[in-house]
């Protein structure tokens, strides 16, 4: 038996030697970034980091490549799973022979248990709140993991996908490398991190022992080019094969006119919302909030951004998320807005100081909103600050109106909990991103989370959205889709309709013709 194993290992080693990554094509990707941040997948929160992490790691389950639809979730590192009758105990059976990058050996249940515990701990993960319902994770044997829940959750498979905290890391590498793991992570994905050169690129090399099959692309050069114009020029000059795009119709049209170029527009859309602090003047008056909602012209915002890349927000949860309903947002009506302002004692107009980021994409959108509100008598006095300062100050509750744009796992519970639940109010110990201080729908959100009846759950999520929209806790603006341009020579190996890693998944089937 031992002889057979040695022979097999020797054969695998020979195949690895014969397979030469340098002989395979190099995929050159242009990204709007100065540098990558934290490549420990449990800390990868920015688009820049999420895209590259998606190429290096797997989850127990995964979205089918090119999809962000939870209905397509399929086995990844786990080949099958089963759950107890009450839905609180889940057992995952792992694939055998899955190898980590480098010399970190075979994936075992110990790595999975370590990863999920790490993802659920605030000190070692930015996504720990998603794992609150998990009571315990244990390795039953080297290829079996048991997860016991404290309470029922809308989608356990959802948090175990190849997304955010669901990525599985090498226990040995994480323990050995400590803080260094964030810049030298080890996963099981089709590509391994080779090196990061600050302000230049992150270089990835194909993982020859990838459990599905060896990737057809040898290397990925993930190049940091923050200026849109410079990146576009590099793409036009064929120095890039894949280019991070601007969610703007003019950009899309220009790229589409280039020969041999395909523009991919895909889910998940980021929903932009004006979050109104209902505990502070002037937005503690419902009439002022309604006036602001009537002043917003979503159709104009879509026209400005482009009909191919954006759509009107119709609820305080993005369209397409499980549980989304059209919640009856107030229509554009500047006359009604002025009347409501006058009723609330602001007949001569209202000025609101707002902290906002200088990030061009967000600042530009806010300037269109500023103009729309000005027509209705609401002046936004924008205090423009650097992006990191913006995030810090809005979490200190320093702005009565917060423009925030985000995509989350496509189940209503996540968005409702993080943005609209009382437990998530900013400047509290359990704060997430509830800038409005709304807690009127807490009962419905909590009940829906633990409900085992899908119909009941959907009804409760719908009810929560109606309450929040009626209370005007926030005003939805537009949903903006992700945009990338690629040379036709790049074939993803699947149709790209969505990607939770916010960039096109580069898999073992992706090839450069």
């Amino acid at each position: 038996m031992a002889g057979w194993r040695a022979a097999l290992l020797g054969a695998a080693w020979l195949v690895g030697l014969a397979w030469d990554a340098t002989a395979q094509p190099v995929l050159r990707v242009g990204m709007a970034a100065q540098d990558v941040g934290r490549l420990d997948p449990h800390f990868a929160t920015s688009t820049i980091d999420r895209v590259v992490v998606g190429w290096m790691f797997n989850g127990l389950v995964r979205f089918a490549p090119g999809s962000a639809d939870p209905a397509t979730i399929e086995p990844d590192l786990a080949e099958r799973w089963d759950s107890s009758a009450d839905g609180k105990t889940w057992t995952f059976h792992l694939r055998r022979g899955v190898r980590f990058h480098g010399n970190y050996g075979e994936l075992t249940a110990e790595d999975v248990a370590f990863s999920l515990k790490k993802a659920g701990t605030a000190a070692s993960s930015a996504f720990s709140a998603d794992f609150r319902s998990i009571g315990s994770v244990e390795a039953v044997d080297p290829y079996t993991v048991r997860i016991v829940l404290r309470e029922n959750v809308p989608s356990l498979l959802g948090i175990l996908t190849n997304y955010s905290g669901g990525y599985i890391v090498s226990k040995r590498a994480a323990e050995e490398r400590g803080d260094g793991f964030t810049r030298a992570p080890i996963g099981t994905g089709p590509f391994a991190l080779d090196r990061v050169t600050p302000s230049q690129s992150a270089e990835l090399v194909a993982h020859a022992e990838y459990f599905r099959e060896a990737p057809q692309i040898g290397r990925i050069s993930y190049r940091f080019i923050p200026s849109d114009a410079s990146r576009d020029l590099a793409f036009q000059n064929r120095e890039l094969d894949l280019n991070y795009g601007r969610s703007d119709q003019t950009w899309v049209n220009r790229m589409r006119q280039q020969p041999g170029v395909t523009v991919d527009i895909f889910e998940p859309a980021e929903l932009a919302i004006l979050n109104l602090n209902i505990t502070q003047p002037p937005f503690n008056d419902l009439r002022v909030r309604q006036a602001l909602a009537h002043a917003v012209n979503r159709a104009e915002l879509v026209r400005w951004r482009g009909t191919d890349v954006s759509r009107e927000g119709q609820s305080l949860v993005p369209r397409g998320y499980l549980g989304f309903i059209e919640a009856g947002v107030l229509p554009h009506d500047p006359v009604r807005a002025r009347a409501l302002l006058a009723e609330a004692g602001h007949g001569s107009g209202l000025t609101v100081k707002v902290i906002h980021t200088q990030l061009p994409e967000m600042l530009n959108m806010m300037q269109v909103v500023q103009q729309q509100l000005r027509r209705a008598g609401i002046t936004l006095d924008l205090q423009v600050v650097e992006h990191a300062t913006f995030h810090q100050q809005i979490r200190q509750d320093l702005s009565p109106l917060v423009y925030y744009s985000a995509a989350r796992f496509p189940v209503a519970d996540i968005y409702l909990t993080q943005f609209w639940h009382g437990r998530s109010i900013v400047k509290t110990p359990t704060a997430v991103t509830n800038f409005s201080h709304c807690s009127q729908a807490d009962a419905q959100i909590d009940a829906a989370r633990v409900s085992t009846d899908r119909e009941e759950q959907l009804k409760l999520w719908g009810e929560a959205q109606r309450i929040l929209v009626q209370q005007v806790c926030g005003v939805p603006l537009v949903e903006t889709l992700l945009v990338f341009a690629r040379r036709d020579a790049l074939d993803y190996g699947y149709p790209l309709r969505g990607s939770m890693s916010l960039g096109p998944p580069i898999t073992e089937r992706t090839r450069l013709r």
Binding site: S227, D228, A229, D232, L233, R246, T250, W251, R254, E300, R303, W304, Q358, P360, L363, N364, M366, Q367, V368, Q370, Q371, D381, L382, Q383, V384, E386
Partner: protein
């Protein structure tokens, strides 16, 4: 022949500056559109038709924004250089006149200020105080105080030994009267020439600060801010960056031409030539 050429350049520079000054003063009457009014349907229109210089990504008229932006550029630059001239000039005068340890200390402080490039010092101050018009004026003034102090101090050192100053002292005039009534009028031409040359620097620094996002709040039009906004869409609509860039270029060129001409006119060596 050379003098004629220099004079022509000074006149051309003067005309450029005058044109910008008139544009700034008359902006409310000659700008064809409200510089902040958006028209999403008209976004990114090329030059021509109703919009002579085209429109930006919000459908705002670029010509109108340029005219109103001239006001910001000139207000900030003139305000900053005026402030630097008064503060720096006074420091130089007093320091040179009193001399001794005070002079030594003051000039060392000025040397420290001079060691910072104008843009870096401006960036630090605006980042600390916040980007509004008054803070911009203060930030740019701070970058220009040291050169004015130096230019005022040098002639003061020699003038204070001259007979007319001695006579003033003998007659019992106060120090303030001697400084501002007798020495200042003699150094004023040099300070004014310096001011003209530094105005160009002030315009450039203001535009650079606005370019990196430290200008007045949106939707206030500034030339630097317009150039920055246009830069990201330069492949789709190059006119967004080209026209404000050109405006900065012409104003800085004009101010430098006037400054050079005035310097030549007040330089006794060049005057003989």
């Amino acid at each position: 022949m050379r003098a004629d050429g220099a004079a022509s350049l000074t006149w051309i520079g003067g005309l450029l500056c005058l044109a910008v000054l008139l544009a700034a003063l008359l902006a409310p009457w000659i700008a064809p559109f409200d510089p902040a009014e958006q028209s999403i349907l008209d976004r990114l229109q090329p030059p021509g038709g109703d919009h002579w210089l085209g429109t930006d990504q919000f459908g705002r008229d670029i010509l109108s924004r340029l005219l109103w932006g001239a006001r910001i550029s000139l207000t900030v630059s003139l305000g900053a250089i005026g402030l630097a001239m008064v503060v720096g000039g006074t420091i130089g005068l007093v320091s040179g006149y009193i001399g001794g340890r005070l002079d030594l200390f003051t000039m060392q402080v000025m040397d420290v200020l001079l060691s910072f490039p104008s843009l870096i010092l401006g960036l630090i101050v605006v980042a600390l105080l916040g980007p509004d018009l008054v803070n911009l004026v203060i930030a740019i003034a701070l970058t220009a105080i040291a050169p004015f102090a130096r230019i005022a101090r040098a002639p003061t050192l020699s003038l204070k030994e001259r007979a007319f100053v001695e006579a003033g002292r003998a007659l019992g005039y106060s120090h303030a009267r001697i400084l501002f009534g007798h020495i200042l009028p003699n150094i004023l031409p040099e300070v004014l020439v310096m001011a003209t040359l530094w105005l160009a620097t002030a315009v450039r620094v203001e535009a650079s600060l606005a370019f990196v996002g430290l200008g007045p709040k949106p939707p206030t039009p500034t030339w630097g801010g317009m150039t920055r906004d246009g830069f990201e869409t330069i492949l789709d609509a190059p006119w967004l960056a080209v026209f404000p860039g050109l405006a900065i270029l012409l104003l800085v060129l004009g101010l430098n031409m006037v400054g050079d001409g005035l310097r030549d006119a007040t330089d006794p060596k060049l005057r003989h030539e």
